[in-house]
């Protein structure tokens, strides 16, 4: 029983970070109708930014989230403004190629700057844990989960309650109608890509104390983000949150009860089953 609760707990905690990655991808998809294949690479840049801030200035990885959010927002917004906005209305496959290309440029630039060596960011609490009613909870995962929850709540409030957040949702629901309301959809696209990048970068910062950091780490996360988003239903924020936690728990459970080498297999089998029986995803009907 303790083992079950233990793995459930760590699954939920890592699932929170996965959710953040998935929400970023789903917001970009909702507004742009483009799958961002550079999503994992943006996360990787967030990891390196955190590593850089830690190794040069000694800034704690969790504190660096406060720097990561604005920097990665600006990075994403500029990428949208100068590259992706030029491709609005182009064929979908061309837009996909563009994001793949941008991702390659990002990972190769990082390789040039930091070499392809694996980096580890070790903090005093990297392997620390707290005891919670007999269940031991990894300290960095617990902190990152709370940061994730706070960011998700703030984002939800922003999208539901503010004029600009509603304009982003309106663009996602009907781009043409949004234009007829006087919403500048190029501008909401820039915002959406900025927010999506900030979320991916923040997720990168949050996992940097527990993951290896290397330039190609992004591709695995792009794939994971895609699975999370499709599982939850493309464009649905609630779906992405749910999808992230489901993937986190599935990974952690199968690592404990089957073998850690098989956890990816279980995740993809689950993914295929959802696609088979509910092709639009768990929250498929509802968009942003």
């Amino acid at each position: 029983m303790i083992v079950f609760l233990q793995s459930l707990m760590s699954g939920v905690l890592i699932g929170g970070v996965y959710a953040l990655i998935g929400i970023g991808l789903t917001i970009i998809f909702g507004v742009m109708r483009v799958i961002n294949f550079a999503h994992g690479d943006i996360l990787m840049i967030g990891m390196y930014l955190t590593y850089f801030l830690f190794s040069v200035f000694g800034i704690d990885p969790f504190l660096s989230v406060a720097i990561c959010i604005p920097v990665m927002f600006a990075f994403g917004a500029l990428t949208q403004k100068f590259f992706i906005n030029r491709m609005l209305g182009a064929l979908p496959q061309n837009q996909i190629l563009l994001t793949i290309g941008l991702g390659l440029i990002m990972s190769n630039t990082i390789m040039l700057l930091f070499t392809s060596d694996y980096k580890i960011l070790t903090t005093s609490y990297s392997s620390g844990s707290v005891d919670l009613a007999g269940i031991s909870v990894s300290q960095p995962l617990a902190i990152s989960f709370f940061i994730t929850a706070a960011i998700t709540a703030a984002l939800y409030w922003f999208l539901m309650k503010t004029d600009i957040g509603q304009a982003i949702r309106a663009t996602a629901q009907d781009r043409e109608a949004a234009q007829l309301m006087g919403i500048n959809v190029r501008w909401t696209s820039i915002l959406a890509f900025g927010i999506g990048s900030a979320l991916a970068g923040t997720a990168g910062a949050l996992i940097s104390p527990t993951y290896y950091i290397f330039p190609q780490v992004g591709s695995a996360f792009t794939l994971k983000a895609f699975v999370i988003t499709v599982l939850g239903g493309m464009g649905s924020i609630v779906g992405a949150t749910l999808g992230g936690i489901i993937i986190g728990v599935t990974e952690s459970m199968s690592a404990v009860y089957i073998s850690s080498g098989w956890k990816e297999v279980v995740v993809y089998v689950l993914f295929l089953l959802v696609l088979l029986f509910k092709p639009s995803g768990l929250m498929g009907t509802s968009r942003m």
Binding site: Q166, A170, L180
Partner: protein, 234 residues
């Protein structure tokens, strides 16, 4: 107020509009009638800058519309209620209305305008918490018009507001359009319901295969031999 001069437009190789000349004066209800595919909606899309014309000039109050983006046309006061209503399906009635007052000049009047459209369409007040996508066609049409009014339009472009509505609702939608015009909003109405539109319009244009073939006052066209034969089945 609105002046269109020699507007030509093609979808790829298919030419849809041929030298359209059209004018709307302040305070009028002007209607553009014609059958399906005559180019009525395309004309409105050109005004709202959702598509780019091949040639021709479009001006509103002296401003050259062809230099503007869609959202800038809205800021000038030219607001379109699109065909098929295009309600935001995952937003409530109130949220849809709030989006109607997104532009800065309309934001200050938001609460007053919500009250105004609730008076015009009491049904929307009852349904203010319902999601747009779950409403009936008639209710969505009311919401679409109400959302357009939230923007404080000088010129309201209505694209097929009666499409797919029950006959009783059609009558009340046309009454509402007259009422909106009486409150000082100029209206450019595009319709397939030729009889009802000509009845409420000050002036009208008849479009056939992308060309203006007839123009005159609503009454003149109601009495016109060609219109009676082609559209009214008389």
């Amino acid at each position: 107020m609105l002046k269109i001069d020699k507007l030509n437009f093609s979808y790829g190789d298919l030419k849809v509009l041929w030298d359209i000349d059209l004018e709307v004066h302040a305070g009028e209800i002007v209607t553009v009638v014609g059958s399906n595919g005559a180019g009525k909606s395309t004309t409105l899309k050109n005004i709202s800058r959702l598509v780019r014309p091949t040639s021709g000039t479009l001006t509103f109050g002296g401003a050259d519309l062809t230099r503007l983006e869609s959202h800038e046309v809205v800021e000038l006061g030219v607001v379109q209620v699109p065909e098929g209503r295009k309600i935001f399906p995952e937003m409530t009635v109130t949220e849809n209305l709030r989006m109607g007052s997104f532009i800065k000049s309309a934001r200050g009047d938001r609460e007053a305008n919500i009250e105004r459209v609730f008076t015009l369409f009491p049904r929307l007040r009852e349904r203010h918490k319902q999601l747009g996508g779950t409403m009936s066609g008639g209710e969505q049409q009311m919401l679409a018009i109400a959302r357009g009014l939230m923007t404080n339009p000088k010129l309201l472009l209505l694209d097929e507001p009666s499409l797919g509505l029950a006959p009783l609702l059609v009558k009340s939608i046309f009454e509402t359009i007259t009422e909106i015009n009486r409150q000082g909003v100029t209206v450019l109405l595009v319709e397939q319901n030729v009889y009802q539109s000509l009845r409420i319009a000050h002036r009208a244009y008849v479009l056939e295969t992308g060309r203006v073939v007839l123009t005159g006052t609503g009454e003149e066209l109601l009495g016109n031999e060609h219109v009676r034969k082609a559209f009214l089945g008389m």
